[in-house]
Symmetry: C2
Subunit: 290 residues, 2 copies
């Protein structure tokens, strides 16, 4: 049980965390701050937070749990804004989709206090953003990846694990670098492909006609293309090296399938599709394939 | 009201059509044929068809409505198998995802009787196949594209339109070539991208680890990668010229986004993502964007 959550960033991710913590009875009071005062006010009106803080620093004041739920590119500035009030028995976490950049920022800014920071990435989200979409169930049943570093305090890591599990998550630990490599493949590249697909269709003179004909396959495969542009700009920039590697491997598979199609090589094309189809048909979220 | 539907191919698409027609009271009797006798038997046991036919030709015998629900590459052989019993007052349709190749096959094989063929593409499907997934609601609320040719009989076109509308579809007409260009962009390329993405992940030594970490974004964006390999091999082959054109435009968008990311050009990257995100956020299935 925490006395006070200092929530920095009262959007979809942060707001949903506050709602889940409250519903589970894990926190007594939530003090929230968002860059936009209207968001903070909205969050209070919705009962997502109890008290509006006029700054990130004041949101941290008196908290025993701090969550940064800001775009990853804002991590360093946020750590700088709050570092004077961070103490070593305060548990600080983030929810960013990339981890190496956030860990670097924490090391650089928090220095001796970096041990109280437990980098976290809950594998959950929506294509819509903003506190109005906050949902106490957003994290239920989802995986959370914690990426502790050598200085992370074992006690804080344990508390973080217990907390995420208490709101219904499955917790795993990975190194920040391994995290970023994996998520380049299964999250960042899929987002990039969806953005590029919708971008390319819109760039054509008949793009709107085409979009009017699109069906359920398009709907699902491009749902994530509606995601928040600033957040995803940051994620793609922060993890660009891994992303470029994954894009190369993807482009090779795509190229080989196109060549097979162009050459009328149905056998090769079918073999490649079959590998993908069987893999995807047996895939279950949160389970490593056998 | 039709007396007898001759259903050739009792899989997901054909079976769902038979169920929808029966539920709407639009057909008295369904005679079905599938290449695999066990599928035909299963379809009868499930009540999808009333009578098992031992051949495609016998499924057509006595029918006033015929539906080809076979892989598009089997269209020509199927037309050949049934042409002797096709009469000009029989309405013949297909449900193929490509239209130019099917229309070519119909012209070539049916000749003077081609006027009774109304090429149809219902924009509906599932990533699973087989009669056991047949669903009377598969087509409800979906679009159906009819691609009549110059010889198509107006009376048959009207009957086909009424029929699809009666089972809850929105019907549009297009030229076969325009259809294939549009669906290369909004259906065939998205499938190819999903296949290539899952293929590329599986090709990596850590592919299984990565897949175990994938979340809801991956789940939705790759749902269609589980689609039937033979069916999609045929679609991609049949429409490869349009597909290659769409893939080129997609690759240009992808390349430009990657270059922006590599160069740390957040402004350009964000502008491209924003175009895609806003387009996709405002997109509604079955509605042409403004």
């Amino acid at each position: 049980m925490f006395e006070q959550l200092g929530l920095i960033g009262c959007g979809l991710m942060g707001g949903s965390f506050a709602l889940a913590m409250k519903r589970a009875g894990l926190v007594k009071r939530v003090v929230g701050y968002s860059k936009s005062p209207s968001t903070t006010e909205r969050a209070r009106q919705m009962g997502v937070i109890d008290v509006e803080a006029p700054s990130a620093l004041l949101a941290v004041s008196g908290a025993d749990l701090v969550l940064l739920a800001v775009p990853v590119s804002a991590s360093e500035a946020t750590f700088k804004a709050i570092r004077h009030l961070i103490t070593s028995n305060m548990l600080v976490m983030d929810v960013g989709s990339t981890k190496r950049d956030v860990v670097d920022a924490a090391r650089k800014v928090l220095r001796d206090n970096v041990g109280c920071f437990v980098p976290a990435h809950p594998i959950a989200g929506k294509e819509v953003s903003g506190v109005e979409h906050a949902d106490a169930d957003l994290y239920t049943g989802k995986q959370v990846i914690l990426t502790p570093i050598e200085k992370t305090q074992v006690g804080h890591l344990k508390k973080a694990t217990d907390l995420w599990e208490a709101i219904g998550c499955h917790v795993q630990q990975m190194a920040p670098e391994a995290h970023d490599a994996a998520f380049a493949a299964v999250s960042h590249l899929p987002h990039l492909l969806a953005f590029a697909l919708v971008h390319a269709i819109n760039n054509q003179p008949q793009g709107k006609e085409f979009l009017g004909l699109a069906g359920p396959g398009f709907r699902d495969s491009t749902r994530i293309a509606a995601s928040d542009p600033k957040m995803w700009r940051d994620v793609l920039l922060a993890n660009r090296h891994e992303l470029v590697e994954q894009a190369k491997m993807f482009s090779r598979s795509l190229h080989n399938m196109l060549i097979a199609a162009e050459q009328g090589d149905g056998e090769k094309l079918e073999a490649m599709i079959t590998l993908a189809s069987e893999s995807r048909a047996h895939w279950r979220m949160g389970q490593k394939p056998k």
